[in-house]
């Protein structure tokens, strides 16, 4: 954001809500995190060795780390990673586009809203994973069914958030536009769409994680196309739990990375929203 003029109130230099890691080290709050993580790792390391749980199903921490590096070194899973991520990307883009269009249509036309709301409620209530066998039946075991399931799972929040966001402007804001004789397109582009943007961004972020879920569920269900989901299933059936844990870790790292990137983009795009402002202070 570029602010050339200084804001009047002490808007800027409010103390950071989230102190830096260094400050947290100094005032000691970081040690709590470190201690709990260390304790968790210690339990993970020693509990399987006590014999109370099956060692094969619950490998120790060090065995898991070893498996993780074995996987990283192996390289055979790169193709699976690429397959999963490309399916997520495609499904996410399609889902967001579809959700956005639906949101705009329903958010700007009361008639369409009336007509489609019953279906929307039905779709929302449906645990969409149940459609997976159907989609696999229709589209086969390839990437198509995977993407289709992810699209169906992920478009919904974008749709709803767009629709709700377009209705966010206050009566006074609409009145201002009307008093300037703005036409519908101008009201949409200059008022409704910018107002909706923060909510749309939330939907888009949510959709990203849902697309991920959709793709992996589909991969676990229909293994032939490959992907990280297939990998976990294979490793699990070989009772190689260290590798299963490793894949799960990779998925966690990936989704945290994606969400962080989305967060950064969000803060750039809707820096003016109340949400972003309160986070920045």
């Amino acid at each position: 954001m570029t602010t050339t003029a200084p804001p009047p109130a002490p808007v800027r230099s409010a103390p950071a809500l989230r102190p830096s890691w260094w400050e947290r080290f100094r005032n000691g709050s970081a040690w709590i995190v470190i201690a709990t993580v260390a304790l968790f790792i210690a339990i993970w390391e020693f509990f399987p060795q006590t014999g109370l749980v099956n060692r094969v199903l619950f490998p120790t921490f060090s065995e898991t780390v070893a498996a993780f590096f074995q996987l990283l070194g192996g390289g055979y899973w790169w193709e699976d990673l690429a397959k999963t991520m490309s399916a997520v990307a495609i499904a996410w883009v399609i889902g967001c586009a579809f959700g956005f269009v639906m949101g705009v249509v329903l958010g700007t036309s009361p008639f369409m809203r009336q007509a489609i709301t019953p279906y929307a409620i039905a779709v929302q209530a449906l645990p969409k994973v149940v459609l997976a066998p159907l989609l696999i039946g229709w589209l086969g075991f390839g990437a198509e069914s995977k993407i289709a399931l992810a699209v169906i799972i992920c478009f919904f929040p974008v749709w709803i958030d767009t629709m709700v966001g377009l209705a966010l402007p206050s009566a006074n804001e609409f009145k201002l536009m009307k008093s300037l004789r703005a036409n519908r397109w101008q009201v949409f582009t200059k008022l409704q769409l910018p107002s909706a943007l923060p909510m749309i961004m939330v939907g888009v972020k949510h959709a990203l994680l849902l697309a991920f879920t959709g793709v992996i569920v589909a991969e676990i269900l229909s293994a032939s196309d490959g992907g990280l989901g297939k990998l976990t299933k294979e490793f699990a059936s070989q009772l190689n739990m260290g590798l299963v844990y490793s894949v799960v870790t990779i998925v966690v790292i990936l989704s945290i990375t994606l969400v962080s990137i989305a967060d950064v983009i969000e803060r750039r795009v809707v820096f003016w929203s109340e949400e972003s402002r309160s986070r920045k202070k």
């Binding site: 570029t2 602010t3 050339t4 003029a5 804001p7 009047p8 109130a9 808007v11 206050s170 006074n172 804001e173 009145k175 201002l176 536009m177 009307k178 008093s179 300037l180 004789r181 703005a182 101008q186 200059k190 008022l191 910018p194 943007l197 809707v270 003016w272 929203s273 402002r277």
Partner: protein, 258 residues
Amino acid sequence: MTTMTQTAPLVRVEGVTKRFGSGDKEMVALSGLNLEVREGEFLSLLGPSGCGKSTALNIMGGLLTASEGTVTFSGEPLTEPSRNIGMMFQQAVMFPWRTTLENVLLPVEIFGEKKKDFIPKAEELLEMVGIRDFRDSYPWQLSGGMQQRAALCRVLLHDPKLLLLDEPFGALDEFTRESMNQELLRLQDYATSTAVLVTHNITEAVFMSDRVAVMSARPGRLVDIIEVPFDRPRRPELQTSTEFIKLVAKARQMLELQ
């Protein structure tokens, strides 16, 4: 008193009735309102809460249509908002994704004109209300009073013939409100436009106006019009003069008699 030239009024409201809802839920907000706004004057609409002041103003601005009666603006029947009428509401209504300057230039975009042509004028107006330094700040970096100043610049950018102000400073504190009122008088004079101000502050109405139109409680009708003869520019000290206090008392009596 302002010289009473016998020109046609800028706005003529004749027998305007406004009903909201229908059937059992029907509610008469205005009933047979008659009002004339003269060219160049400052008129206040004073009345108890809910008497239909905002409704009357919105009808004059073409935002609402009357159920009965007619409104003419510059002699023409008024059926929709006009570029020559500028409206201000109780909230500043600034878009948080636009800088102050971009907010002031919003009408230019909507009228499909070139922004470049209006930047000097916008800056001049911002300068006049003392917030030129904040042209590139966002509304949420400004105080409520500064936001209303910017809104004032936005509404004056196209030199509207008629300003319709619905308690524009009602949400501000007493101090800010008084200085904003001064600002408003100065700018109205500068822009040589006609102004209609809705308020339920009696002192404010008398201080600002050439005439004060007192309305009855719901359904709103015109009770009487008080002429305010003081010279302009008006200084805050005026408010302690005997004549001023008498006029305020008269207006108060009219409101209470209902």
